[in-house]
């Protein structure tokens, strides 16, 4: 069973049925727009939501996450011995995720799940999560996913890819996880694989056509890190930057974090928070020295990491899926597409 159709009147009941085995996440609307959040009982995801301000990364990587705890009560035998907090490994499904957000998870995975170390919290959440994507039929003006090896109907990282066919969804089941979720919902109306694939291809081409972008990344790999780092345009790129963390927090591929300890009564908790390379604190030594002490350093770090360091380190393309959230949310309209082109076009005169 590769393709199924889901009648929209069966959609909400199917999701409810799956709640026995899945915690359900999806786009939820409030007065400030849409966010990917856990769905309250009896609520259906807002599948026609415009792009959410925040990506879906918090499902695997919450902005604040407890990792270890210890008692400081010296009358207890194990005082001051840290132990991992229990993680909730109940299967979860993210409905209506945009394909680029699923691809982003695969890029983030390179960081959290590598041959040397595996982050147990992220990995457990990843194992537990099923991604049900919805193809983007009307990409917005900030979407440049096709220019960075992704696209509005990209399947990478998804377990199920759906397409909105007015009164029904056409769903392509991509993995075993996807099969399990479909079964849990009781969706079982098979669709003809050949015809369905043709439909998907048509929709994909239609959607891809709407993305107009002249972003080029082809020459980035051929340049040296130091040439790009020493390029003359960084002051200009950074001038308007106010060094807030918006671009990094809305980004589905930004994974940097901070580790903090707090105590409450006699309990110590170690947790991690999203962190941002835009903050001067990020690299501030206790001595007062700061290797990235100016905003130009920090703006350059963000773009160099995404567009050059990552590319050189993993050889898996750039660390960007073209969602355009940073472009849409940046208070001063720093546009990664322009910066990328400047980097790609830069020829050193040395």
């Amino acid at each position: 069973m590769n393709f199924i159709t889901i009648d929209k009147k069966d959609w909400a009941p199917g999701i409810d049925k799956s709640r026995k085995t899945f915690r359900v996440y999806g786009p939820v609307e409030d007065e400030n727009g849409c966010q990917i959040k856990p769905l309250a009982p009896d609520t259906a995801p807002k599948m026609d939501a415009p792009v959410t301000v925040m990506s879906a990364k918090s499902v695997l990587f919450p902005q604040t996450e407890k990792i270890l705890t210890a008692t400081l009560d010296e009358s207890k035998q194990d005082h001051h011995v840290m132990t991992p907090v229990e993680t909730d490994d109940m299967p979860r499904v993210v409905l209506g995720i945009r394909p680029y957000d699923a691809k982003a998870v695969q890029l983030v995975k390179l960081n959290f799940d590598n041959p040397d170390y595996q982050d147990p919290y992220w990995c457990a959440a990843y194992e537990a999560t099923t991604f049900v994507g919805l193809g983007v039929t009307h990409p917005g003006p900030c979407d440049f996913s096709t220019a960075v090896g992704c696209g509005p109907f990209s399947e990478e990282g998804l377990d199920v890819l759906m397409a909105d066919m007015d009164d029904k969804y056409l769903a392509k089941i991509l993995t075993k996880k996807g099969e399990n979720w479909v079964a849990a919902c009781g969706f079982d109306t098979e669709a003809d694989p050949k015809e369905s694939q043709v439909l998907f291809d048509v929709l994909r081409k239609e959607a891809e056509k709407q993305i107009q972008t002249d972003l080029a990344t082809d020459k980035l790999a051929g340049k040296t890190i130091l040439d790009l780092y020493d390029a003359p345009f960084w002051d200009d790129v950074a001038f308007s930057c106010i060094n807030c963390g918006t671009c990094t927090y809305v980004c589905p591929t930004c994974w940097c974090f901070d580790i903090q300890d707090e105590t409450r009564h006699n309990t110590a908790v170690r947790f991690r928070n999203w962190d941002t390379c835009m903050s001067s604190l990020f690299t501030h030594h206790a001595s007062g020295h700061n290797p990235r002490g100016t905003k130009v350093h920090r703006v350059r770090q963000r773009f160099m990491h995404k567009l050059k360091y990552f590319l050189d380190k993993y050889d898996q393309g750039i660390m960007c899926v073209g969602c355009g959230r940073c472009v849409a949310s940046c208070p001063v309209n720093i546009d990664i597409r322009e910066v990328c082109n400047r980097m790609n076009d830069y020829e050193t005169t040395k």
Binding site: V53, F239, S240, Y249, V250, D335
Partner: protein, 320 residues
């Protein structure tokens, strides 16, 4: 406001050509609809990059205080709406810059539009934005909307009573008429009228989506502290996670730190990616500053702000 830009460009070109200023800080067009970006020009050949329209919602005074204006640097011209100019005055009063270091190109302002309000008119993403006089034409893939600018003004612009810069070196247009308001703080009064639980719930709801990106703080010209209290480690005043007490502590303390200094420019709200009306915090303090001290920030160069000055008739008991 259409005509202003020609004057702004001409003034900027003249200042740069004559060497009166080293650079001109203004707004340039952005890469997406309804976006502009702050820009610094150093050559009179570049002045065509300058724009001024209804989406220049940030405060350019922010680019004077935080770009380490050393005494070595030459004079800088700043394109300033009423509120930008008031923040430049505040910078001068607070000794962040000297009056001689800046050249204020004053812009009589007819207000900035609320991008969220406009976005709310559409189910899909906005692909085009045009402005002709008082009329805005906004398009998306599915439709085109024509609206009166007055109907989509930001709240701070609707209640603004200082559209013209109080201090300037040159004006880029004739002053606009200033409005007077019978109830300038209706929004604050509404919140104040809530009972305790409702008010608490209101503020909890207000910050529930905060991601602590600090865009509000960093867009604010007042927030020039070399190390913000949230970034201090010894002592650590506030936790760094998403605990709601920590989040609200940040917002409350930041607002108090702006008391008697805030010009209600709205840059904090403009910058917030999560749509938080950060002004709900600062407006109450602006109201207090006005009612208790008869003070509005950034209007005059020769008076200290109320929390910075001693007066025998201070309304607070502790002073007596």
């Amino acid at each position: 406001m259409d005509t202003c830009i020609e004057k702004i460009r001409a003034i900027g070109a003249d200042l740069l050509a004559k060497g009166t200023v080293e650079k001109v800080i203004g707004f340039a067009d952005g890469s997406i609809p309804m976006a502009t970006r702050p820009i610094a020009l150093t050559s009179d050949k570049e002045v065509d990059k300058l724009v001024f329209n209804s989406v220049c919602g940030l405060n350019l005074a922010n680019y004077v205080s935080k770009n380490s204006l050393s005494s070595k640097e030459g004079k800088i011209a700043v394109v300033a709406k009423g509120c930008d100019a008031r923040n430049l005055v505040t910078h001068i009063v607070e000794n962040q810059i000297s009056r001689e270091q800046i050249y204020i190109i004053g812009v009589p302002c007819t207000g900035m539009v609320d991008k969220r309000k406009i976005a709310a008119l559409f189910d899909d993403e906005i692909t085009g934005f045009e402005e002709h006089g008082d009329t805005l034409t906004i398009t998306s893939a599915s439709k085109t909307e024509t609206v009166k600018k007055a109907d989509v003004l930001r709240h701070n612009c609707r209640v603004c009573t200082h559209s013209n810069p109080p201090v300037y070196d040159v004006m880029a247009g004739d002053p606009v008429e200033e409005q007077t308001l019978d109830h300038p703080y209706e929004d604050v009064d509404q919140i104040a009228a809530m009972d305790l639980d409702a008010r608490w719930a209101y503020f909890e709801n207000l910050t529930k989506n905060c991601i602590r990106c600090y865009a509000c703080r960093n867009a604010c010209p007042l927030c020039y502290c070399p190390t913000c209290f949230v970034d201090e480690s010894s002592p650590q005043w506030v936790g760094k996670g998403q605990n709601e007490i920590d989040v609200t502590t940040f917002h409350f303390l930041r607002a108090f730190h702006c008391a008697g200094r805030c010009t209600d420019c709205g840059a904090c709200v403009e910058a917030c990616p999560m749509g938080i009306n950060v002004r709900d915090f600062t407006r109450k303090l602006n109201k207090d500053a006005l009612e208790l001290f008869g003070w509005e920030a950034g209007l005059v160069l020769d008076k200290r702000p109320p929390l910075d000055a001693y007066s025998p008739n201070d309304p607070n008991d502790f002073i007596k």
